[in-house]
Subunit: 218 residues, 4 copies
DNA sequence: CATGAATGAGAATTCATTCAT
DNA sequence: GATGAATGAATTCTCATTCAT
C-alpha cells in the first residue's frame, strides 16, 4: 500500500506529551466536532486565521475555553486534525490501492484516489497542507509534523522501490519519484484550495498518466 | 522562458493599495535590508514566527517602528519579499533556460537551475514557499499571492504548450504537467528547508530525467 | 496553654457564610480526603498553584466538581485546611506544653514541640504558612485569616503576660515577645519548606535557649 | 554590615534570563512607575490579586500591554519589585548600621532601622514579604527568590559569627539567631501589613532589647 | 529620517463554579 | 451522592500599527 496513516494508528496510545484518549462518548463527540470545525476553518481561512475563537464560532461553541477544555493545547488539536485527515485519507485510498494487482495499477490508484478524495472531502487535504506547512521551527509538534510529512513520502518510496526490484518499473530514484508524486498532488490540492475550478478527476487521470510514463520500463 | 518574475517587473509600481515608490537611496537600502532579514526569518522560523519584532532584530534594527515606517503594512513587506525572491530566481534561472536551444533542454534547465538556485540561495525559495502558503482567505493580499502562484504555473504551462504545438513534446495536458513540475520542485524545496540532507543537484538531474520521460514523444 | 485551635473548636459551626455541617460519614471522609490533598498541594507547590484541578488530581478525584460539591467555595476549603492544621498542631503541642510545671518549661516545650511537629507532619505547617500569607485584602475570608494569625500570637502573649505577672519571667513586652517567637518558628518552617536541610530538633532547642535567655529574669 | 542588597547590585547586569537594562530615561521612569504601583497593589491586596490589570490601573496606565512592553514577564516585574525594595532597604538601613562601632550596636541598629523603614515606607516590606512567600515551586524565578531569602539570613548570620569570634557576643548558633531575627521582624511587618495599629519604633526598640539579651555574653 | 513609547485588539489558557444527568 | 461537561470571566502575553519628538 502506498499510503497509510501513521498518526491514526496511535489514537488509543498514551505516549505523546499531550492528548489523553477520550474516555466518554460525549467527549469524543465534542472533540470530533471541534476537529471538524478546525479543518473547515484552516481550509477556508488558512492556518494563521485558525484561532480558537474562529474555530469555536464555526463549531457553534460559546467559548474558546471549551476547546482548551477538550484539548491539551493547540498542538494537540492540530495533531488531531492531522490524524483525522490521515484517517479519512487512509480509509478512502487504501482499499482502492489494494484492489489493484499490479504496481502500476497501485500507483495510478494512489494518485487518482488521492485526487478523488479531494473531491469527496474538499476541506481535508487543504487543511492538511496548511498544517504541515507549519512544520518549521524548533517546537516538538512542528518536528512531529515534519516527520509525518517525511513518512508520507518515505512509504510511497519504499513501495516504489519494492516494485522496482520486482522488475515492475523502470530505472529511477524511488525517493525522488515519491517526492515528485507527493508534490504534484499537493500542487493540485493547493490550487483547488485557492479556488481554482479544476476537474480533479480528470486531473488525477492526467497525473497518473504522467507518472505512468515516468516510471515505465524503457 | 519558463519562469519570470511578474511582481519584480513593476517595481516602480502598479498603484496597489500600499507601497509608495522608494525615492531615495537610503530608503531603498533600508527596504532591501529589511526584506533580506524577513526572508531569513521566514525561511528559518516559518511565516508564523516572522513578526516585525523578529525581523527587526535580525535586521539589526532597534525598533519595529522602522519597518512600519518603510512599509505600508505586513502585506506590503510580504509582497516585497515575494518580489525579491522572484527577482533573484529570474536572474538565476532565465539565462540558464534561454541558453538552451530545445524545449526539452529548457525544461531540464528550468528544473535543474531551480534546484541549483536552492543551493545558491538556501533561504529564498523556502521563504517564498512559506509566504505563498498564506494565500488562503479573502483578504486582497492573499488573493494576490494566489494569483502569483497561479501565474508561476501558467507561464510554464504556456511554454510547454507552445513547445508541444511545435511538436517538441508528446501528448499531455501542459497545465497539469506544469503543476506537477512546480509541485515536485517545491516538494524538494520543502524537504530541504525542513533540514533534510539532500544533494539538490543530483535531485535536480533526477527530476529533470523524470519529467523528460514524462514529456517525451512516445 | 500557649497555642490552641480556635477554628477547629467550632467545627459544628459559627454560621459563617459557607460550610454546611457535614451530615454523613462519607461526607466527612470525602472532606477530610480533599483537605489532606489540599494541604499536600499547598505545601509542595505553594498556594498559587493549589487550584481545584491540582487538588482533585492529588486526591485521586476525577473532577473538580467534587470539591465544589463538598465545599461552599475556595474560602471554605481553606478555612478547613487551617482548621485541620490547627487541630493537628493543638493535639501535638498541647499535651507537651501542659506537661511542664514552669512557665519557662512551657515556653521551651512550645517552641520545641512546634518544630518537632514540623518533623512529624512536614506538610502541615508549611501549608498553614502559605494560607495565612494570603490574609491580605478586603474579602471577609482574608480578614478571617488575619484574625486567626493574630489570635495565634495573642494567646501566646497572654500566657507570657500571666507568667510574667507571676514573677516567672523578666521584664519585656509579652506581645512583642510572642510575635518574635511566632516569627522565629515560622522562619524555620519557611526555610524547611523551601527545601533547606535543617535538623529541626536541634534548631528547636537552640531557639528555645534563645528565648529562654530573652525572657529570663535579669 | 548586617544587611545589604544583593539584587540591587546587578541592576546594570545582563546575565539574567529576562530584564534588559533600561536604556532610556523614559523607559526607566515607566519601569519605576510600574514597580511602584506593583508594590502598592501587592502590599494592599496581596500577591494573588496583583495582576497586570490591577497594577496598570493603579499606575494610571491604559492597558496591561504597557507592562508587558516594559517587562519581560511577571517574573521580571517581581524581580524588579524585590530589587527596588532591597535598594530602598539597603539605602535606609546600611548607613544606620555602619554608624555603629560595636556589634551589639549594629545588631540594634539593624533591627530598629528595619522597623523604622516599615514606618517610612509602609508598603515596601509587606510587598517584599508577599513576593518572597511565593518562593515555592520549580520555576526558576521562585528558586531565585528562595535564594534571595536565604541570602538575607546568611549575611546576618555571617556578621553575627564574625562578631562572636571577636568575642563581642555570647554563645549561640549564629545562623539560628539570624533566622530568629529575620522571622521576628517579618512577623511585625506581617502584622502591620494586616492593619494592626502598632508603634513600630517602640516595637523595634523592644525587639532590639530582646535580641540584645539573647546575644549578650552570659 | 529615525526612534522609542504607546496602544488596543486579540491570542491561548486557566480558573472556580454550575448544572443536567 | 457523584460525575463530567460546560461556562465565562480573567490572566499573561504578543502583535501590527501609530505618534510625538
Amino acid at each position: 500500500m502506498l499510503m497509510q496513516a501513521k498518526i491514526s494508528a496511535d489514537e488509543q496510545d498514551s505516549g505523546g506529551p499531550a492528548a489523553a484518549p477520550p474516555r466518554t462518548f460525549t467527549e469524543a463527540a465534542r472533540r470530533a466536532q471541534i476537529v471538524d470545525a478546525a479543518i473547515e476553518v484552516i481550509a477556508d481561512e488558512g492556518y494563521a486565521k485558525a484561532t480558537y475563537a474562529r474555530i469555536a464560532r464555526r463549531a457553534g461553541l460559546s467559548s474558546t475555553g471549551m476547546i482548551s477544555y477538550h484539548f491539551a493545547g493547540k498542538a494537540d488539536l492540530m495533531r488531531e486534525v492531522v490524524a483525522e485527515v490521515m484517517r479519512v485519507a487512509d480509509g478512502y485510498m487504501r482499499p482502492r490501492i489494494e484492489a489493484q494487482p499490479t504496481a502500476a495499477g497501485r500507483l495510478r490508484a494512489h494518485i487518482e484516489s488521492n485526487l478523488e478524495l479531494l473531491g469527496a472531502h474538499p476541506k481535508h487535504l487543504p487543511a492538511l497542507l496548511q498544517v504541515l506547512a507549519q512544520a518549521r521551527g524548533d517546537e516538538p509538534w512542528q518536528q512531529e509534523f515534519a516527520a509525518e510529512m517525511g513518512g508520507l513520502v518515505d512509504r510511497v518510496a519504499e513501495a516504489l522501490a519494492r516494485a522496482q526490484e520486482a522488475g515492475e518499473f523502470g530505472d529511477f530514484d524511488p525517493w525522488v519519484m515519491a517526492m515528485a508524486i507527493r508534490g504534484a498532488v499537493d500542487a493540485v490540492v493547493s490550487r483547488v484550495a485557492g479556488g481554482a475550478a479544476i476537474d480533479v478527476a480528470a486531473c488525477g487521470r492526467e497525473l497518473a498518466d504522467l507518472f505512468d510514463r515516468a516510471t515505465r520500463k524503457a
